[in-house]
Symmetry: C2
Subunit: 331 residues, 2 copies
């Protein structure tokens, strides 16, 4: 059973491939009604599915985009991925996803693979603090947009970000207003810009309140398991604390678990604040008070920006989203 091609249907109808191609691509201003109808009918009859690889080769456009992210299992990234696929598919793009586990080498490998597959653009959530891979993207002249995490010179690349520093300040204001003084902060991996920004928000607020003490800062890794381990350490250190502000929800989830297990009442004995507003954060009990990033919107904006950028390669834009305080039960 051979695949049916343009040629087959051209022959059957008795026209040239060019004509068939034109009607299939809606460039049929110059094709008579009758031949168009015949062509369309035959396409149905033979169940013709165009070979878009061949199409890509001649048009130099694949109608697929790539998304490079640390781990699709992480609900932050899967929400971004969903948003991206939603707008991509409504603009007739498919999306290839790639898990890097924050490894620079994997990122590089995937970038090259995607370029070789002629993807029309790439959405890049980098976990490696390095601009080498950005250079590869640039030198290959492929449209791309960064999301959430950026490296040097953000002004020179398309990007979608959240105002992390401000977000943490928002959360801190709330904590401070509630009378919390001894507030610990658990950072993300410190090679990531977003970790630095969030920590900066904490430092700003604590300094302003004359409460800053660097012993209250703990370096985490943005994972739930990391949140568990670090919280155990914090408890062991015997520092008396009013609240713990986790640099993201994943760590806060781990933290809450340890706290409850150790007999702490939340928020009576200790308050907990997260960051991200991942879906699960409202599924747990007590529901997590957190700072929300508009994750889905950010993904959507990224994909829209990418597609604009594919259509007009000169675009170079940065979009900043506002974080918001989400008051629930843990403070």
């Amino acid at each position: 059973m051979k695949k049916v091609t343009l040629k087959d249907i051209a022959e059957k109808v008795g026209v040239s491939k060019a004509t068939v191609s034109m009607v299939l691509n809606n460039k049929d201003i110059n094709v008579s009604e009758s031949t168009r109808d015949k062509i369309l009918k035959t396409v149905k009859e033979l169940n013709y599915i165009p070979n878009s690889v061949a199409r890509s080769l001649s048009t130099n456009k694949s109608n697929t985009i790539g998304i490079i992210l640390p781990d699709i299992e992480n609900s932050f990234f899967s929400e971004v991925a969903r948003a991206i696929e939603d707008v991509a598919s409504s603009s007739n793009y498919n999306v290839i996803f790639c898990n890097t586990d924050n490894k620079k080498e994997k990122e590089e490998q995937y970038i090259k693979l995607l370029i070789s597959k002629l993807v029309d653009g790439i959405i890049f959530l980098t976990g490696a603090y390095s601009s080498d891979n950005i250079k590869i993207l640039k030198s290959n002249n492929i449209p791309f947009v960064l999301v959430d995490r950026y490296v040097e010179n953000p002004k020179e690349v398309n990007g979608v970000y959240c105002l992390n520093e401000k977000g943490v300040e928002l959360g801190m204001d709330y904590l401070l207003n509630k009378g919390k003084k001894r507030i610990a902060f658990v950072t993300g991996p410190m090679n990531l810009n977003i970790s630095k920004q969030r920590l900066q928000g904490y430092i700003n607020a604590m300094t302003k309140a004359n409460l800053y003490n660097e012993d209250f800062v703990f370096e985490g890794d943005f994972t739930t398991d990391g949140g568990i381990d670090l919280t155990k350490e914090i408890l062991k250190s015997n520092i008396k604390l009013d609240a713990i502000f986790y640099g993201n929800d994943a760590m806060a989830l781990g933290g809450i678990k340890v706290l409850i297990r150790e007999g702490y009442k939340i928020p009576e004995d200790i308050s907990v604040m997260g960051f991200d507003n991942v879906k699960i954060s409202s599924f747990i009990q007590p529901e997590l008070t957190t700072v929300s990033q508009p994750i889905y919107d950010m993904g959507r904006a990224a994909c829209t920006l990418l597609i604009d950028s594919i259509d007009d390669k000169t675009i170079n834009k940065q979009i900043y989203f506002q974080p918001e305080l989400v008051i629930r039960d843990t403070v």
Copy 2:
């Protein structure tokens, strides 16, 4: 800045494109050391990235597979997706993912799109109870494997499944042994085979124990929000219950939330059992007692089976995984 092609590097080295192609594809048994070295050097120098679309057109192989699933945001599916991408990428395949929201039309649309992109195979997690789309796959002679959810005639297609009926029986035995008698069961959407199988496990166990009462069965939808709504209804119905067995963890999460909010102590006042052993189920407090499907392993097996099937289109195999009881804190 034009892209560099095979021709460019052939010209620069002073050989034919054929020769370059051969060394790049490791079919260079017949190429002299010296020309091979020269070629490899030039490839590096010019930063040559092969155009794999052109390659696909002549080899009729794209080295990409498609995965069609209801929603990548659902952690069950994102875990499967991660497993698939892991084995795919280690075998040099990329993966395109498609969200269908359980809509048959979307499934069909994506299948056709993927076929037109010449994907080498498709992993299909269908949410629609219909074999029409399976027929399209078959008639196009494209390798595919079903995961988790199947339709008619499973013997005729590649598939990876979990023994759902047995899994629920496992959970029921545990509940029954703990002396629970008034056990409610919340099903998934009843048009899915997996929902029927899980319900059947419940019916088997209850009937055997002489405890079956159809008033204890509630039809859910596998979502957390659905779990919330349904649990409220169950409480309102005033049926006295020892335990609720939810057809999947997502619904159990919603259920636990409602129960706690309404003042029930788990497991003292009422026990809760889930199904899936999704990652979050151990992040909540109390940790969910559930029946685990080996999700990651199932994804990995599916992708391995798909690749085997791509290499040898005659393969037709069904793999069944054993569920396991995971005892934690909610029973």
